[in-house]
């Protein structure tokens, strides 16, 4: 069974329907990229999966279990699903290491000394070994975003969600963050990305979904979707995006 299954997910803000009956399956270890114009519903869909937003209709299944049931305590679910945001959202009053250790300390009741070795390992793996004790404002955008990824990974999630995590970065810093994503994919992490990096999606994704007005217009393997888009909306979007 797929790791994540979305069935007819519907999300409204007032009269504005942001997700309009979205169906999606993400297999274990797969990287799925959501593409589409701003406002198509990509970010909202990710926030729904992480239960930061509640949905009006539909189901979100994690390992076959409906996590979108109204009234369900979202905290245990969020521990299993990590999320990284466009604007990093590091905690500015804590060092990188403290940012990373906060949730494991509070949620898994682990001590700093217990955590330090495994955290150090993670920092090393993502090329941040010498940045552990820096504050966020002492780090570049790319470094901050990598710390944010390490922070999410420290909770040992089963799924990672990435919400346009390279959009706020200077172009020369995008590469280092994408490298991290490749590294993660190779380690077998299940990932869902909302992204504008078409080249990266084509190269690394297992599946690409094109969203428009809260609906999945077209989905498929990257080669099929990028090289031979079927739907006219997809064709129009790609024509603009790949120009």
């Amino acid at each position: 069974m797929a790791k994540i299954i979305l069935k007819g997910v519907e999300k409204r803000f007032g009269d504005n329907t942001v997700c309009d009956g979205i169906d999606l399956e993400v297999e274990e270890g797969q990287m799925v990229c959501l593409i589409g114009a701003s406002g198509a519903g990509k970010s909202t869909l990710l926030r729904c999966i992480n239960l930061l937003e509640t949905i009006e209709n539909g189901e979100i299944l994690l390992d076959g279990e409906d996590i979108s049931l109204p009234g369900l305590n979202p905290q245990p679910v969020r521990r299993r699903i990590g999320m990284v945001f466009q604007s990093y959202n590091l905690f500015p009053h804590m060092t990188a290491a403290e940012n990373v250790m906060l949730a494991p300390r509070r949620v898994y009741k682990k001590s700093r000394t217990e955590l330090r070795p495994e955290i150090t390992e993670l920092f090393k793996r993502f090329g941040l070994a010498d940045r552990m004790d820096h504050y966020p404002d002492q780090l570049s955008g790319g470094q901050q975003q990598r710390v944010a990824i390490v922070r999410a990974l420290a909770m040992k999630p089963e799924v990672m969600l990435f919400d346009e995590i390279t959009s706020a970065l200077d172009p020369q810093l995008v590469g280092e963050v994408l490298d991290v994503l490749r590294l993660l994919k190779n380690s077998g992490m299940t990932m869902v990305l909302a992204t504008h990096e078409m080249g990266f999606a084509r190269e690394a994704a297992d599946k690409v979904c094109f969203l428009k007005d809260g609906k999945v217009v077209e989905e498929g393997a990257p080669s099929a979707l990028f090289d031979a888009p079927q739907h006219p909306d997809t064709q129009a979007f790609l024509a603009r995006a790949l120009k």
């Binding site: 905290q75 999320m83 959202n89 905690f91 500015p92 009053h93 906060l102 949730a103 949620v107």
Partner: protein
Amino acid sequence: MSKTNAAGKTRRQIYEDRLRRRSMLIAGGSTLAVLLSVLVLVPLAPGWDRVKASFFNWEVFAKTFPKLLEAFKLDVAIFLWSAPAIIILGLLVALARDTRNPALFPLRILGAAYTDIFRGVPVVLTVYLIGFGIPGLGLPRPWNSPYIWGSLALILTYSAYVAEIFRSGIDSVHKSQRAAAQSLGLSDGDSMRFVILPQAIRRVIPAQMNMFIALQKDVALLSFIGPVEIFRQAGVYKSLLANFTPYVGAAVIFLAVTIPATRYADYLMAKQNRERS
């Protein structure tokens, strides 16, 4: 190869130096003019001798100042035991007003009513009501002490203001910080305690310092219900000597504390504005 003169200054630096010298001259000159006109013109006023005798009487000042300083210790003591309580209560009220749990809705309403009422009532009235009212219910000594209930009046009033400032600080932390904390699986309480509050508190420190400067002055209101702090002591001297100089002495003591504190708060505020921009 840069163009510098003998003193090693660039053309721009020389120009700016000249500008600076000029503006300092103008500032110094106008300050001097104002000071001179105050110092010369005021004593020329027909009533100056009488005003001087009753407000700026050196003999009275020297005689009363040591006792006023002694009485000011009580103001400081009241401040020192009230301030921590105000911080704690203010924070609790701010958190109560921020609570999203529907079961705690009454707490939220109570928090709102509390801040509305205590910010809306003159402090003196609260001091009277609580300072005389609650002991009047029949509490035994020492539990009916005006020090206890007067301080409580100050604590309740100032906590209402302090709570609102804390709340504005909490509101000023971007909601993406809360989202980030929640996405990590932190509970709402932990998100508030470890992520939101530390940032919120840091932001409102200058504003809170101004509140506590005001508190230091309002401690004098406790004199209405008996404690002989500096304001009352000055009032006693005023009556006995039929002279207002003791109040001037008290003002000097207050200023010696509040001016440095105000300057420091302004400095913190300016520093924070610089950091944020």
